[in-house]
């Protein structure tokens, strides 16, 4: 009896001892860049086996909330924190929170329609109408007229949106608010809105899963989720009248204007950007890092990672269909790393 107790204690002690020198950093937030971040943090661990950056994707809202609460070391969001949230962070944690753009991505409308494997063309009115619940059938004229020659069924559209607080939602609703006054009044822009219609999926993964499993559905996900799952996604009409497909070139074109006029805090919206070949539902995504990190090992690990991310990390984005940051933004950001004390 005494001996077994001894073994138990020894076993517990062994499990409790941390590996010497390993620094574990925890972050949570956006599912939008999750494929990129999970790849980055995995690669970084291979380069630096003593640094484990654990990223759990729970949605941008969780990223903002938990980094403000101090339960995680950093957050991630594709909807920049608004002034009220910035102030709350300052009040709660005694320092400001810094936004660091990491990649450029795109929200794409993905759908599951029997017999339709090609990219459908969507006008802004079509997307707004679908998500407002006013366009209810796939063969509605607003959709059909943009897609001559495509056989669209006379079935009800099943709308899928996010059930959690999401930066991907922020990007989507930010775009819809810019192109539809009615949407702006009814639901507005935010990480979580009062959706007029639709089913809720949790995370980009959840929405993608839902669309895959539900016939005649439409959802919005980050480009890589549609690509990795080999599902069709649509082209969207941009302000100059072109139907643009989301890809590296079109997303980079959308960021061109913002790159030149990037504000110091890096918070900017690039949806519905005008410019030839620009994809209208593009966005930066940010890491949210407190300006003051008390643990020196964690601070060094994060600042080192940021430097690596801005150089080597940027070379890995294209393989996952995220566009790398514009040169001007990288330069400005590299200087901003010094703000972390």
């Amino acid at each position: 009896m005494k001996r077994t107790a001894g073994f138990v204690v020894a076993g517990v002690a062994m499990l409790a001892v941390a590996a010497s020198g390993e620094t574990q950093i925890t972050g949570t937030g956006a599912t939008f860049p999750y494929p990129m971040y999970s790849k980055w943090f995995n690669e970084y661990r291979k380069l630096h086996p003593d640094i484990a950056i654990n990223y759990q994707s729970r949605g941008s809202g969780a990223g903002i909330q938990q980094v403000t609460a101090g339960t995680v070391d950093f957050g991630a969001s594709d909807g920049p924190m608004n002034d009220m949230q910035l102030k709350e962070f300052q009040d709660k944690r005694g320092c400001e929170v810094l936004h660091f753009p990491t990649v450029l991505g795109a929200d794409v409308p993905t759908y599951n329609i029997a017999g339709v494997t090609q990219a459908l063309n969507f006008t802004a009115e079509a997307l707004a109408g679908i998500y407002l619940g006013k366009i209810t059938k796939w063969n509605d004229p607003e959709i059909a007229k943009a897609n001559p020659g495509v056989k669209l069924p006379n079935t009800d559209i099943v709308v899928v949106h996010r059930s959690d607080s999401s930066g991907t939602t922020f990007i989507w609703t930010d775009y819809l608010s810019k192109v539809s006054k009615e949407w702006e009044m009814k639901a507005g822009r935010g990480t979580a809105v009062n959706w007029p219609v639709g089913l809720g999926g949790q995370g980009n993964e959840g929405v993608m899963g839902q669309v895959k499993q539900t016939p005649n559905s439409i959802g919005y996900v980050e480009l890589i989720y549609a690509l990795q799952n080999k599902v069709p996604f649509g082209k969207v009409k941009n302000p100059v009248g072109e139907f643009v497909e989301a890809n590296l070139a079109s997303v980079t074109a959308a960021a061109a204007g913002a790159a030149k006029n990037m504000p110091d805090d890096f918070r900017v919206s690039i949806t519905n950007a005008s410019g030839k070949g620009a994809y209208p539902i593009s966005s930066f995504t940010w890491l949210l890092i407190p300006a003051k990190i008390s643990d020196p090992a964690k601070k060094k690990a994060l600042t080192d990672f940021l430097a690596w991310m801005l150089k080597d990390g940027q070379t890995m984005t294209q393989a996952l269909s995220y566009a790398p940051l514009p040169k001007e933004v990288v330069a400005k950001e590299t200087k901003a790393i010094a703000k972390i004390k």
Partner: protein, 305 residues
């Protein structure tokens, strides 16, 4: 006196007393945390919280009715399915099956109660939903005129969640009902049979009514379990905070919305509203568990008279 306390025996008694009191303290702490953290939303919305149905984090308006509705409806569907099947199976196991077979089958059914909720969710997503997607269109042709079966069916729905829940709570109804039926005195059965009743008539008209309270108690227990179920429900209910007349529509439950929104609620009012929801759920399960216990006791009291 002091010597007694300082001796091993007194110390031992003190330690176990401390443990028991620790449970009191822990529970008090839990209730206090729930009550105080839900303060902001209780103050702001009052009872309207339970009556209004707009849940808008952006505007800061929180009405819990869709979640209460979803929780009640999915549990009701679960019971509507589980009670006939459960009581029926309990009758078979208590009255008809030979004791060894009855014990063996009950053992297996009680194992079903041990299956984790997330596993039911897993089966729900990949087995039940595709099955329902195949079957419901045909069913709607026959019954679609009824408002509860109207509207489109996408898979995730109040009905799907209700069905999964019914499988999860049936073992409780079966197990407890079987116990109370077995506790009914033999003389009652023998008297009825002697008077010429069939086995079924004896069971249905004499034995079951006698054990009525205990069976109701098992239903309350099942209900309490169904109300608090989180994972299996959130995986198949559709996570949509809307109140619809149709069971085929997606819905939301209290436990599911807490699970989905808690870590990301960015305003204090949002968090407070979610915790208030937790409080509501807690209150419901307390009442039901208490009622269940009283009812089961009432039946066994009757049986031992």
């Amino acid at each position: 006196m002091l010597r007694r306390v300082l001796s091993g025996d007194g110390l031992a008694q003190f330690i176990v007393f401390l443990s028991a009191t620790a449970i009191l303290a822990l529970t008090a702490l839990l209730v206090w945390e729930l009550w105080s953290h839900s303060g902001p939303s209780r103050a702001k919305f009052g009872f309207d919280f339970l009556r209004t149905s707009t849940w808008d984090p952006v505007a800061g308006v929180f009405g819990a009715l869709p979640y209460i509705y979803g929780t009640v409806v999915t549990s009701a569907v679960a019971l509507l399915i589980a009670i006939p099947f459960g009581v029926g199976a309990a009758i078979f196991l208590a009255e008809l099956a030979p004791p060894r077979l009855s014990d063996a089958m009950t053992f297996l059914i009680e194992l079903l109660a041990a299956v984790p909720s997330v596993i039911f969710g897993l089966m729900g997503i990949f087995v039940l939903l595709p099955l329902l997607l195949k079957v419901i269109p045909g069913f709607k042709d026959a019954a679609g005129f009824l408002p509860i079966f109207s509207g489109p069916f996408y898979g995730p729905s109040l009905l799907s969640a209700g069905i999964v829940l019914s499988i999860m709570v049936a073992p409780f109804i079966i197990s407890v009902s079987r116990e109370v039926l077995l506790a009914v005195p033999k003389d009652l059965r023998e008297a009825a049979l002697a008077l010429g009743a069939t086995r079924w008539e004896t069971t249905w008209d004499i034995v079951v009514p006698f054990a009525r309270r205990g069976i109701m108690g098992s239903v309350f227990l099942a209900l309490a379990r169904a109300l608090g179920e989180t994972m299996a429900v959130t995986m198949v209910v559709g996570n949509t905070p809307k109140i619809a007349a149709s069971l085929l529509a997606p819905g939301y439950s209290i436990a599911a919305v807490i699970a989905n929104e808690f870590v990301e609620a960015t305003t204090d009012l949002h968090i407070s509203s979610l915790i208030e929801l937790g409080l509501v759920l807690f209150g419901l399960t307390i009442v039901l568990n208490g009622a269940a216990r009283l009812l089961i006791l009432a039946t066994s009291g009757r049986a031992s008279r």
